[in-house]
């Protein structure tokens, strides 16, 4: 199934609720957050995208001409034909939330946790949404663009536990 056939199928199912874009060999569809789960489910069940090869996020705070703050992309692969498709969606403050795709691809587990850890995007329906790389006590989301590269002193304010206290 080629990209055009997939897009035709998606248009038949979801109408004009999504937009498409293309750059080099990357084919993308941009879906609003409330439809993203339905679109991904359709792509998995009906179009043969059985592998979620990559899930990542970005903060578009200072990006030229950006309208939404947090972007999340899902790179899908059909392991039989090798066709790739990137699904993108956006979410905004104050409560950035997206549906979890853990029910579709178990591989999304840690990747969603990482996006939550770095950007604070909450994935609804994730069974175990905890911080993954940073310590649980960490309060900020360090890959957000308003977080300074050198941190806010977290490293220097680590509590020192003396021997009698331990």
């Amino acid at each position: 199934m080629t990209h055009d056939e997939i897009l035709a199928k998606l248009h038949a199912k979801f109408g004009e609720t999504f937009t498409t874009s293309e750059f080099r060999d990357n084919r993308r569809i941009i879906v609003p957050a409330e439809r993203v789960y339905a679109v991904l489910e359709f792509l998995k069940e009906q179009c043969g995208f059985d592998m979620l090869v990559e899930l990542g996020g970005a903060d578009y705070l200072h990006y030229p001409h950006a309208t939404d703050r947090y972007g999340v992309w899902y790179v899908l692969v059909n392991t039989t034909t090798g066709v790739r498709l990137i699904v993108k969606t956006f979410t905004n403050d104050p409560e950035p939330t997206l549906p979890s795709v853990f029910a579709l691809w178990k591989g999304a587990d840690w990747m969603e946790r990482e996006v939550y850890d770095m950007y604070g995007v909450v994935f609804d329906g994730h069974p175990d949404l905890r911080r993954i790389l940073l310590p649980d006590e960490f309060t900020a989301f360090p890959l957000r663009k308003d977080y300074p590269m050198r941190g806010r002193g977290e490293r220097h304010n680590f509590p020192v536990i003396t021997r009698p206290e331990s």
Binding site: L52, E54, Y63, T79, W110, M149
Partner: protein
């Protein structure tokens, strides 16, 4: 039997639960090789639940990528999977060059292929050697490291650095290789199959090794796809997917090689796939080094993406300007305001970069798709129901590199 999340997370209720005890594995443990921690819940010696706890080596590499320019970031990329540094560089520059629309010279493509395959051998040698070491086979480990040393020497000759060569640049390489380097690679290709055979004769029919790895940590094909596994781990489970064949990048179209697959999906299959892949890589290196095209390694300096050579900088006004334009932090590359995902077949699987560019010489966002991170997420599913001594066998077969895991 398909793996369910419940197998990995839910614990029995009631009096049965009192028999369970918790064991902290790592972060400092000789068999984890780097710092990672697993909290094991055990019933006697049988594992009923494993919860990985990672992040001990988190150093903010992706944040640094938003502050270093496209060439500078190569030093950070090197330190992700430090067992195959140049493969990381190739993935990073594949994304950057796709973003800028740069077509490499044939010689550069061939040299990158040679380095990619050397790194594959290097990575697999470490993985197989360390897997044998953890299971008590010390000699195979030494044979593997002896060959690893040769690859370090090859890196040193080309880039001047053994461990973190930082050899690639946008649009080309740091420097062209010389005849001595070519002879070194030729000698490596000639000698490697013999050393490979030594390892194979020690391990492939070794009863202890087979009993420790066969039917341990079985990953079915469906689970491998569903859990986003790529590379040798997916191929050992029967997923026929290799980006070198499926989406031929660089010059892989020119070479004759096989994609190595297995059906069993256990630790032994993963070991065998890695071992066979080394020979295929050796074949590719042989074909590439004997057909190495002449010509420049960098794209034309007039394209304003690559550094002019030293002579041009000192002796011509154009060279000086080109150099200046790329070095000054308020000039540098003119990138499209776009984003791009590019992936290569790194030794561990699909290594991708998602680069968002805002028009300046520094990426707006650099996201790595790290195979170690994704493969370690599979670990809790693989280990449940096995003995505690199988932890090292499964960990060794997944080849987790903590620097890439935590970034």
């Amino acid at each position: 039997m398909p793996l369910e999340l419940a197998d990995a997370i839910a614990l029995p209720e009631g009096p049965e639960r009192e028999y369970l005890w918790t064991l902290n594995f790592g972060p400092q443990h000789p068999a984890t090789h780097t710092t990672l921690r697993i909290i094991l819940t055990l019933d006697g010696e049988t594992i009923v639940k494993a919860v990985p706890d990672i992040g001990y080596l988190h150093s903010g590499f992706e944040k640094l990528g938003e502050h270093l320019d496209y060439n500078q970031y190569v030093t950070i990329v090197d330190r992700k999977n430090y067992i195959s540094p140049v493969a990381n560089e190739i993935a990073w520059f594949a994304a950057v060059e796709k973003l800028m629309g740069i077509e490499l010279t044939p010689r550069c493509k061939y040299l990158r292929v040679i380095f990619n395959e050397l790194m594959r051998i290097h990575d697999h040698l470490l993985c197989c050697g360390a897997a044998a070491l953890d299971l008590g086979g010390f000699t195979a480990f030494l044979y593997a490291f002896n060959q690893k040393e040769k690859i370090y020497d090859i890196c040193e000759r080309a880039a001047g650095q053994r461990f973190h060569p930082s050899y690639l640049r946008v649009g080309g390489l740091l420097a062209d290789v010389d005849d001595i380097w070519i002879d070194m690679v030729r000698k490596f290709v000639r000698d490697f199959p013999k050393a490979w055979n030594d390892i194979v004769r020690l391990l492939n029919r070794n009863r202890i090794f087979i009993e420790r790895t066969k039917d341990i940590g079985v990953l079915s094909k469906e689970d491998a796809i569903n859990l986003s596994c790529t590379g040798p781990i997916a191929r050992a489970s029967g997923v026929v997917r290799d980006l070198r064949k499926d989406e031929p990048y660089l010059a892989y179209r020119d070479f004759d090689f096989k994609v190595v697959c297995a059906r069993e999906g256990d630790c032994y299959a993963r070991y065998l796939v890695r071992m066979e892949e080394m020979l295929e890589s050796c074949k590719i290196i042989h074909q590439a080094i004997e057909n190495l095209p002449p010509g420049p390694v960098n794209v034309d300096a007039n394209s304003k993406v690559t550094m002019p050579n030293q002579l041009a900088v000192y002796r011509s006004i154009e060279g000086l300007i080109h150099h200046f334009e790329l070095i000054m932090s308020n000039r540098q590359w003119h990138t499209p305001v776009e984003e791009v995902y590019a992936a290569i077949e790194s030794p561990n699987g699909e290594l991708g970069y998602y680069v968002i560019a805002d028009g300046s010489g520094v990426a707006y966002r650099t996201r790595t798709r790290p195979p170690s991170f994704i493969h370690f997420a599979v670990f809790p599913y693989l280990i449940v129901g096995h003995q505690i001594s199988d932890v090292v066998a499964v960990l060794g077969s997944l080849n987790i590199i903590a620097a890439e895991l935590d970034r």
